[in-house]
């Protein structure tokens, strides 16, 4: 079951209703049953992995909590991380590593005993694995007590709005909310529904429309010229934003309807004036997870190298981010590119700041706009590695963009709808960035404006939405 299916539109109101009419003490049980039902609907067998990860995390967090000496606590943490990572490693990376070994040994005329195996990646495994690891580390760091209720741990890891593509939540935010009684709240319900509607707009009207063009161009790079590839490269970051951003809003909105607050995942990323700022606004839940559990410990470890310690920590953190995204060298390069951009900014930060102060540029709008464009170009160019199937394909895209122009492939209807969709999203983000609380349609004090806005967006979704796909980009990660 996915958010864009009719099944979900029937499932969710029913769950919300059951949740609110359940006895206070057992509401979490309603959510747990609903979450497992939601996940089982995708492929029942994968629920076994989910149960395995949950049990391992439950047992080891209690062991960590009960252990008296540090070495034991560390041992339990490491054991849990290994156990929880095993399914992720097996399903996500084993096939790739195995294939690489076959190819390598073939070159030396050696026979690798394992045949080429392809597994379907269990949906959401990268997300719930990170949530489970984050929870274990938090218990290890004594930031929260180990949860003694197995059902609540299971609910945290399997919570249906978040399990497939995040946001990657933290136990210290979710567990207290699952324990608390939350009475039905009109503001929460309407706020949640508004977020969901906007999320559906982003996904169905913008992301899936852009996807038609991007998929076609990237589907056969060898026949495309540089102009078509530039258009696809510019569109792709917007597609990912509308896709994952849309998914996140639906997830956050779904939780909000039930009175649960979930971390924001995007904060108007295309208004960033540096890559560092961009990564504070893009896929926030992943980056904050990586910051807390990878970057901070690494930068602490390498602190004696001063700025170069930060550079090493940044490169390694984004290497992990790249590998998390996919078992392909393209993602490794993608991660290293992000690390390089951020490292360059870190190294030149003082000079940039003094330059801005010297010429009084901090309030200069054109200067800011220029940096926004530069930031977008850097990200869009790195996303070529994120989208292309192989390194050769990605290099071919760069080569064609730089050397081969010509008339682009023009699917006018798709491009027109895509650009209008992007414009609407950017205008909303612009308003939220610079005029927060003003010109609000969904929260306008006049009822007729609010109602018109709801109906307009619903009819735009119905008329211009692409309802053919039932997938989200981050399902593959």
């Amino acid at each position: 079951m996915v958010f864009t299916s009719l099944n979900f539109l029937l499932f969710f109101p029913l769950v919300a209703l059951l949740y609110y009419i359940s006895p206070k003490k057992w509401r979490w049980v309603t959510l747990l049953v609903a979450s497992f039902f939601f996940y089982i609907n995708i492929k029942p067998v994968y629920v076994l992995l989910l149960i395995g990860v949950t049990c391992s995390t439950y047992v080891f967090t209690i062991l960590i909590s009960n252990a008296r000496d540090d070495s034991r606590r560390t041992l339990y943490l490491v054991l849990n991380i290994i156990l929880v990572l095993l399914p992720l490693f097996f399903f996500k990376y084993f096939s790739t590593i195995n294939t690489i070994m076959i190819r390598l040994l073939e070159n030396w005329s050696l026979h690798w005993p394992l045949p080429e195996i392809k597994y379907m990646l269990p949906l959401g495994i990268s997300f719930y694995t990170f949530m489970a690891i984050g929870y274990s580390i938090d218990v290890y760091n004594e930031e929260l007590d180990a949860e003694r209720n197995l059902g609540l741990v299971a609910l945290f890891i399997s919570f249906f709005p978040l399990i497939l593509s995040g946001p990657i939540e933290r136990a210290k935010n979710m567990l207290p909310q699952f324990r608390d009684y939350r009475p039905i709240n009109y503001e929460n319900v309407t706020a949640g529904l508004k977020l969901m509607v906007w999320g559906y707009f982003m996904k169905l009207v913008v992301a899936d429309r852009i996807g038609i063009y991007v998929d076609l161009v990237y589907g056969d790079i060898s026949t495309q010229n540089g102009s078509s590839l530039i258009i696809a490269a510019v569109l792709y970051p917007f597609q990912v934003y509308a896709d994952l951003g849309g998914y996140s809003l639906i997830a956050i909105g779904t939780a909000r309807v039930m009175g649960l607050d979930v971390i924001q995942n995007f904060k108007r990323p295309f208004f960033s004036t540096s890559m560092a700022e961009f990564w504070r606004r893009w896929h926030i839940s992943l980056i904050s997870w990586l910051t807390d559990y990878v970057y901070t410990p690494l930068s602490f470890r390498f602190r004696k190298y001063k700025i170069w310690g930060i550079v090493i920590a940044l490169m390694l953190t984004f290497l992990v981010s790249g590998i998390w995204h996919g078992a392909a060298l393209t993602f490794v390069i993608w991660g290293l590119m992000q690390g390089t951009f951020l490292s360059l900014e870190a190294v030149t930060n003082k000079k940039r700041t003094s330059f801005e102060q010297k010429y009084n540029l901090s309030a200069n709008k054109i200067y800011h706009l220029a940096w926004m464009i530069i930031t977008f170009v850097l990200f869009a160019s790195s996303q070529i590695f994120g989208r292309a199937a192989t390194i050769d394909d990605a290099l071919l895209v760069y080569r064609r963009i730089l050397t081969e122009t010509g008339s682009p492939y023009l699917d006018l209807t798709t491009l027109l709808y895509s650009f209008i969709g992007i414009l609407i999203i950017l205008l909303k983000d612009f308003k939220d960035e610079y005029f927060q609380g003003k010109m609000s349609f969904f929260s306008n004090s006049r009822a007729w404006i609010r109602y018109s806005a709801y109906l307009t967006i619903i009819f735009i979704i119905l008329l211009f939405g692409v309802f053919k796909g039932n997938s989200f980009i981050y399902f593959q990660f």
Partner: protein, 300 residues
């Protein structure tokens, strides 16, 4: 208290939704009717597949014949789908028209299946009983009821484009590119000879369609649409001859039905008329429209 307010507001919103759903769908169907030429009683109906869409310029045929023309053509439709289209047309205009131009092609009786999901093209006309039954047979239950209940959902973005064209008065589909013969030769070489078969079941539906048209006291012109000669040659020549003979025999044995093969040398050897081996570009459309216009003028 707030729960009551919430339920009340949800009810109002739903009411408004269905009201606007109806109003918007009326505006949209009006535009689509204009595009197809259903906005006033036509004298001529053109029915066909994508080959007809690329070949006929409705506005030009109207100016040549000085008659209102309806062009009800859809991509990927089979003979059965076209029976439903003709049936739907006569539900709208039971008094019939003077002439139906019915496009035929070498594979008209070969493909027993229409293109995938072709029934979705007919969602906008779900209020028609026969179209409704046709969709019910082809779509899944869930899909059927969604489109039945939410009217605006029947108009997908491809149809919106046609609606805009309808309101702008631009009825024809024009491609400007010219056939890439080198690629075509390669592609046809890869494909090999294509079979032309005469499936009994398809012929039966075709004859039922002709009967339906004639029952409305309407003449039929069967037009074998031209295609680029290399494509034409790729079809099995015996099969093609048998198909043409069938149409000739059928038209001579039935009053009010004519068969014209437009695979004329002056058309099929000129790649400048085609956007791909089967479809015309703007130059080819001008030629075909002129020929059809003159045929209709003489016929009337």
């Amino acid at each position: 208290m707030k729960l009551v307010v919430f339920i009340k507001r949800t009810f109002i919103l739903l009411l408004l939704f269905f009201l606007f759903d109806l109003l918007i769908s009326l505006v949209l169907i009006n535009g689509l009717n204009r595009y197809y030429g259903f906005d006033q009683k036509p004298s001529i109906l053109i029915n066909g597949s994508s080959m007809a869409i690329s070949g006929f310029n409705r506005a030009d045929i109207e100016s040549i014949t000085a008659s209102h023309v309806a062009a009800y053509a859809q991509e990927g439709v089979s003979v059965s789908d076209r029976y439903e289209m003709i049936n739907h047309f006569f539900h709208m205009f039971p008094q019939g028209v003077k002439t139906v131009v019915y496009e035929v092609n070498p594979v008209i009786f070969s493909d027993t299946k229409s293109a995938e999901n072709v029934y979705t093209h007919f969602f906008p006309y779900m209020d028609d009983k026969s179209i409704n039954n046709y969709i019910k047979e082809n779509a899944g239950n869930q899909e059927y009821y969604i489109y039945k209940i939410i009217r605006t959902k029947r108009f997908e973005s491809r149809v919106i484009r046609l609606i805009v064209q309808g309101y702008l008065g631009k009825y024809n589909s024009v491609k400007t590119n010219t056939l890439d013969t080198a690629t075509m030769i390669y592609m046809e070489g890869q494909r090999g000879e294509a079979e032309v078969t005469l499936e009994e079941s398809e012929i039966e539906v075709f004859e039922k369609t002709m009967e339906l048209i004639r029952s409305h006291n309407t003449d039929v012109i069967l037009i074998m649409m031209p295609m680029y000669y290399l494509k034409l040659q790729s079809f099995n020549s015996d099969g093609y001859r048998e198909l043409c003979n069938y149409f000739k025999d059928f038209s001579s044995s039935h009053g009010g039905i004519r068969f014209i093969d437009l695979n004329l040398d002056s058309l099929i050897y000129n790649p400048d008329y085609f956007s791909d081996p089967l479809h015309f570009n703007v130059n080819g459309q001008r030629q075909i429209t002129g020929i059809i216009g003159r045929i209709l003028l003489m016929h009337h």
